[in-house]
């Protein structure tokens, strides 16, 4: 079974990558300046050498680095990524409890960017020299030059003060969420601004990519063949051309997943979205090693899963990939 082999192969790769990520992240964070024992001590009040030593001993910070790493890896295999100094909770629990909102945010942004971006690009390709196409070129330039946190702030100003249509912070409003359905609706309402903020750069990129890709495909021989068959122009455009033009967009979407995750850190901070991003933001400020390591680990895991999903989507969309190792 080639598919089964492929899946096993990918899981083996994923395993190697995850191990490498664990080791690398561990080393990188330890290399950063600053003594975590002092940070912990700072949280708890007065600092004396005895307290620092006790903290180092308790958390294993006095051991040589390679031993710390070994302990870390051993625990990781058992699903224990450590205990957060700052949040007073096992980090795995902490991360899992925050994962939902982030995944929701990223998926919403991806869907928005894919649909709106592709639609705009395809529309522009109908008349590449036209007014709309030129407008899109300029608009997308602005779109992907604007940093997400700035866009977010601008949207907050617009929707909080000028036209208060959407809530600008949080996941839901306790006073408004009534029942299951009401809660879902409220979350969707809160989702609008952060998802769009995160999506804008990608809308800009996908629209340009879709436009270029459509124009390239429309000039190809098989489009001429379709026309020579007497296929209506609308069908040539939306069936023969779009189906091919979408392929590079799928690839890029997969590659963007990691960027989306790092973009989410900023967007969540701006909109106070209770996800991994705000968690990462807080723990970075607190130099909360265990949480940072766990976050890096989980984001690597998410990127790996996303890439795997992209790979399979691509296989569905492009028959030429089947049987080949991608």
């Amino acid at each position: 079974m080639p598919i089964l082999r492929l899946v096993l192969e990918r899981i083996a790769y994923a395993f190697i990558v995850i191990t490498a990520v664990l080791v690398l992240n561990f080393i990188l964070v330890r290399l950063a300046p600053g003594d975590p024992a002092e940070v912990i001590a700072g949280e708890s009040g007065g600092i004396t050498e005895e307290i620092l030593a006790a903290i180092r001993r308790d958390y294993g910070l006095d051991l040589p680095l390679h031993e710390q790493l070994w302990i870390y890896l051993g625990n990781a295999v058992q699903g224990d990524l450590g205990y957060s100094f700052y949040f007073n909770s096992p980090v795995v629990e902490l991360v899992v409890s925050r994962m939902g909102p982030t995944i929701l945010l990223i998926l919403a942004a991806t869907v928005i960017a894919l649909f709106i971006g592709t639609a705009l690009g395809v529309l522009a390709s109908r008349n590449p020299e036209g007014l709309f196409s030129n407008f899109l070129t300029v608009a997308s330039l602005i779109g992907y030059s604007a940093p997400a946190f700035w866009t977010g702030l601008m949207l907050i100003i617009l929707f909080a003060f000028v036209v208060p249509l959407f809530p600008v912070a949080g996941l839901y409003d306790v006073t408004l969420s009534v029942g299951y359905f009401g809660r879902a609706l409220d979350i969707a309402h809160h989702l609008v601004l952060p998802a769009f903020t995160l999506a804008i750069i990608y809308i800009a990129q996908y629209s340009r990519l879709a436009r270029a890709s459509m124009l390239e495909v429309l000039g190809s021989d098989y489009i001429r063949t379709a026309r020579a068959k007497g296929v209506a122009e609308r069908v040539v455009f939306f069936k023969h051309a779009l189906r091919n033009a979408i392929l590079p967009i799928i690839t890029i979407t997969g590659l963007h997943f990691g960027n989306l995750l790092s973009g989410a850190v900023l967007v969540e901070a701006v909109f106070n979205w209770p996800g991994l991003g705000t968690l990462a933001f807080d723990s970075l400020l607190r130099r909360d090693y265990t949480t940072i390591l766990a976050l890096l680990f989980f984001s690597a895991l998410m990127v790996i899963v996303a890439n795997l999903a992209t790979d399979f989507c691509y296989r569905l969309a492009d028959p030429r990939i089947k049987g080949k190792r991608g």
Binding site: S220, D221, Y222, R224, T225, A226, R227, A228, K229, G230, V231, A232, E233, H240, R243, N244, A317, D318, P319, R320
Partner: protein, 351 residues
């Protein structure tokens, strides 16, 4: 083959003009193309790259890219109907149904993301209103007719799984799906291996005879013209410079360009190297269409140029039954054909 008279013509092209807007000005890509095609005839169009042979085909199909192209004048009459005046919808119903076309590049002419079966069936569903299921059954039959082995399995495959020769057979199957009156084959074998070329031509001949279909065969290869066609148009820089029945043209070419093209066909021989004739070539290149003067477009490359050639462009003159050529030599002296051929070789002998 007797020359078709106007009333029995299936397709008649009259004074066709196609212009292209380019950075260097307007190019008259086709200038006064005139010919007719009868039922069951194989008409060859020969010429170098850029002479307008493919554009003639695209104009008949209604596929001239507009802009930058524009049909500036003339008529293309198919069964009494001027296709240049037909609505888009009407043209769409004719394309792939009554008039079909196959292209030079079988490797890229099929859509990579759809199965071969779907691509053949699409045209059947479109023009004959069959269900997809029935159309796929018909596709299997068509694949059998173009001699593709195991057609039931092949219809589920994608283009990348097939060789170039196979893909061109698929293209032929698509083109023939609706039993067209006219098949336009634009250099159908240029991209294929020599052995496969012969197979594709045999297939085209076989299918043409079964269906009594007319073929317009576009090529730059005089050898193919000699093998396949009944009547030939020689094109140069957007004009037809000579038209004749194939035997007449090969034995008695009137235009210096035609003689040159014939002389360019390499002869296979087993003689020792010293005794072989040097390979002929026509010196120079086709001039850019935006830079044509008022004179004959072939004048800069012609071994027989005369003062009149620079001053004005020659019109086609009848030089025999069904044989015409556009060259001042035709007007100037009646029968100098034999001398001219001799002189033309001298051209080719240049180091």
């Amino acid at each position: 083959m007797p020359a078709a008279d106007a009333s029995s013509a299936l397709l008649e092209v009259r004074n066709l003009q196609v212009d292209f807007r380019t950075r260097n000005g307007i190019a008259h890509v086709l200038d006064g193309i005139e010919f007719s095609l009868s039922k069951g005839e194989i008409l060859g169009i020969v010429g170098e790259s850029g002479c307008g042979k493919s554009m003639t085909a695209l104009a008949i199909m209604g596929l001239v890219p507009t802009p930058p192209g524009r049909i500036a004048g003339g008529e293309i009459v198919y069964r009494g109907e001027n296709l240049l005046k037909a609505s888009k919808e009407r043209m769409r119903r004719i394309r792939g149904n009554r008039i079909s076309m196959i292209f030079q590049e079988p490797m890229t002419a099929l859509n990579p993301v759809f199965t071969v079966g779907d691509q053949i069936a699409e045209s059947i569903v479109l023009h004959q209103g069959l269900s997809r299921r029935a159309a796929l059954d018909r596709a299997v039959e068509l694949l059998r007719e173009v001699h593709i082995p195991a057609p039931e399995r092949r219809i589920g495959e994608f283009p990348h799984q097939l060789s170039g020769g196979m893909r061109q057979r698929i293209m032929i199957a698509i083109a023939l799906a609706c039993e067209p009156d006219i098949l336009i084959a634009d250099e159908p074998t240029t991209a294929l291996d020599v052995t496969v070329q012969a197979q594709v031509f045999d297939l085209l001949l076989e299918l043409q005879q079964d269906r009594d279909m007319a073929i317009v065969l576009i090529t730059h290869d005089m050898g193919v013209i000699a093998e396949m066609t009944g009547r030939v148009l020689v094109m140069y820089a957007g004009r037809i410079i000579e038209a004749a029945a194939v035997d007449d043209l090969l034995e008695n070419p009137q235009h210096p360009y035609t003689s040159g093209l014939i002389a360019c066909v390499p002869q296979l021989s087993d003689e020792p190297e010293a005794e072989r004739e040097a390979l002929m070539e026509i010196p120079g290149v086709v001039p850019p269409l935006t830079e044509l003067g008022v004179g004959c477009a072939f004048e800069p490359r012609c071994g027989f140029r005369m003062p009149v050639c620079v001053q004005s462009r020659p019109s086609p003159v009848a030089v025999g039954a069904g044989h015409s050529a556009a060259c001042w030599l035709m007007e100037d002296a009646d029968r100098q054909g034999a001398d001219r051929q001799g002189a033309d070789r001298r051209d080719g002998d240049r180091p």
